[in-house]
């Protein structure tokens, strides 16, 4: 992975810088969605792929980030609101994690699924959250005096935020915390015997993932300029898992590749048939059963086999 990574990142940055010059508004919006899904899938994979914590409720934190923007976009500029959304999501993750992490394995998966559903239901019932119609007319505001209403200006903000987010998650990935997270996934008891406080480790992972899930949600709200209860919907917890799985859960970059493919494919299928979910399900099933290591891991082990 070492060698081409620098080149790929450089190409991606170049692409991001020039995109507004040759893409139209709809295309820009599509690519914004792709970027946001990348960040979101990375945050989920930190939990599921690296920490081995099977959360099915990441939408809770995505939604909190999105609704924070929906509620406060008129009052606060993005430079305040984006970090604030992260903090809110992190605090929520701390509260949820402190209770939910008392369970393990599938019980935990179900509890987190329920947490997402609670918030989904809440958006329908709490008047200030706008019910089924959600909160429309989100104001992107200004950054350094530049109005972000224009597609190009917002594209740069979005790309910068996602880029910084990926950089931060990459740092976490390569940090002592990140290494011990993966050690814990492999053998929790051995890790405990090395002197690691597993509870703190799990909670830490949950909070970091929650914060970046919140950032993804906040960007999503800005990009769409409307936020609806769909931000909390349980499919929103499931989608990033599919993305991470397609790309490869044991790798860092897998979710990025998976998000690109998944967003592209669903977009294409959704235009053709209302039953697109059927085909997505079948592709997903194929990956879980036949290729659970995902594309990037497959590529890596293939290369290792050839070089040996």
């Amino acid at each position: 992975m070492r060698m081409p990574l620098g080149a790929i990142v450089a190409a991606a940055v170049l692409l991001a810088l020039t995109l507004p010059h040759w893409a139209n508004g709809a295309q820009l919006f599509f690519w914004e969605t792709v970027l946001i899904q990348m960040l979101y899938a990375l945050s989920v994979n930190l939990l599921i792929g690296h920490a081995g914590i099977p959360s099915f409720g990441q939408a809770a934190f995505f939604g909190i980030g999105a609704y924070a923007v929906g509620l406060a976009s008129a009052a606060l500029p993005p430079i305040v609101l984006l970090p604030l959304a992260m903090v809110l999501a992190a605090v929520a993750a701390l509260a949820v994690g402190a209770i939910a992490l008392r369970t393990y394995g599938i019980a935990f998966a179900m509890v987190t699924l329920a947490v997402g559903q609670v918030l989904y239901t809440a958006t329908l019932h709490v008047p200030v959250l706008g019910g089924e119609n959600g909160l429309a007319g989100i104001d992107r505001g200004k950054l350094f005096g530049i109005a972000l209403g224009s597609p190009a200006a917002f594209w740069y903000l979005c790309a910068a935020c996602v880029g910084l987010g990926i950089l931060a998650l990459r740092t976490v990935h390569l940090s002592p915390f990140g290494y011990l997270l993966r050690a814990m996934r492999d053998d929790p008891l051995r890790t405990r015997f090395l002197g690691v406080d597993i509870r703190a480790q799990r909670l830490g992972a949950f909070v970091v993932a929650g914060a970046f899930g919140g950032l993804a949600g906040a960007l999503f709200a800005y990009a769409n300029q409307i936020v609806t209860p769909d931000a909390f919907a349980w499919v929103r917890s499931g989608d990033p898992i599919i993305m991470a799985l397609i790309g490869g859960m044991s790798t860092f970059w897998g979710p990025v590749v998976g998000a690109l493919i998944y967003t592209w494919v669903t977009h294409a299928f959704a235009e053709v048939t209302p039953a697109w979910i059927l085909y997505v399900g079948m592709v997903f099933l194929f990956f879980v059963v036949v290729m659970p290591e995902g594309l990037l891991s497959m590529a890596r082990s293939l290369r290792e086999r050839l070089s040996r």
Partner: protein, 255 residues
Amino acid sequence: MSAASEASTAGALCVRDLVVSYGANRAVDGISVEVAAGELRAVIGPNGAGKSTLFAAIAGEVAPASGSVVLDGVDVTRWAPHRRVRYGVARAFQVSRIFPTLTVRENVLAAWLCREGKAQLWWRAVDGATHARAGVALDDVGLGALAERRGDSLSQGDRKRLEIAMALQLDARLLLLDEPTAGMSPKETSATVALVESLWRRRGLTILLTEHDMSVVFRLAQRLTVMHRGRVLCTGAPAEIRNRADVREIYLGHG
């Protein structure tokens, strides 16, 4: 004898009147063992003699009913396992417990980061010097060439090497090796014996090991303790033990 070059020379272990019961069964029934700092001691005895239970009690995995475990003059009998790890008790398991999906280097790195108490440091990537340090530690046990392989791709012998390398990361004074050559080919066995011996000589560790393979025991150990039915039968130099009739009776005769 072994000159201490790098690590601390301490590691004197004193086990006194130790009793560990599983229900009505006294697996360890009033054992006293003294191991001097820097000694390489083997504990032998037939299956069910209580060797593994003794090790577990020293590592803190089982709580003794009575008796004491004292390391360098400090009574650690009631300490939790992780506290003993920090105090210098490292253990390699009979069935190697390494992290299977991490690379060999990352396995060693994980142990070192734990030792440094950095488990919750998430805002800075592990630096190059620390990675290099892990590489050196791997060279030390002869695994340098396999650093980037996944843990689960290693052979039994290499797994044991890796586990020993991890144990050493914890700055051990006392290394507990439970059947270090179990399940190994003759070639792997002799490589592991050489490794243990060289580490012991270079680092001045106290090593306590159990082993079924008598050739390994007689090659490595300075002194032997023979256990039988939860008790110590005798302790002495290898040659001495070899010639005792009662030991032959219960152990070598069956082996």
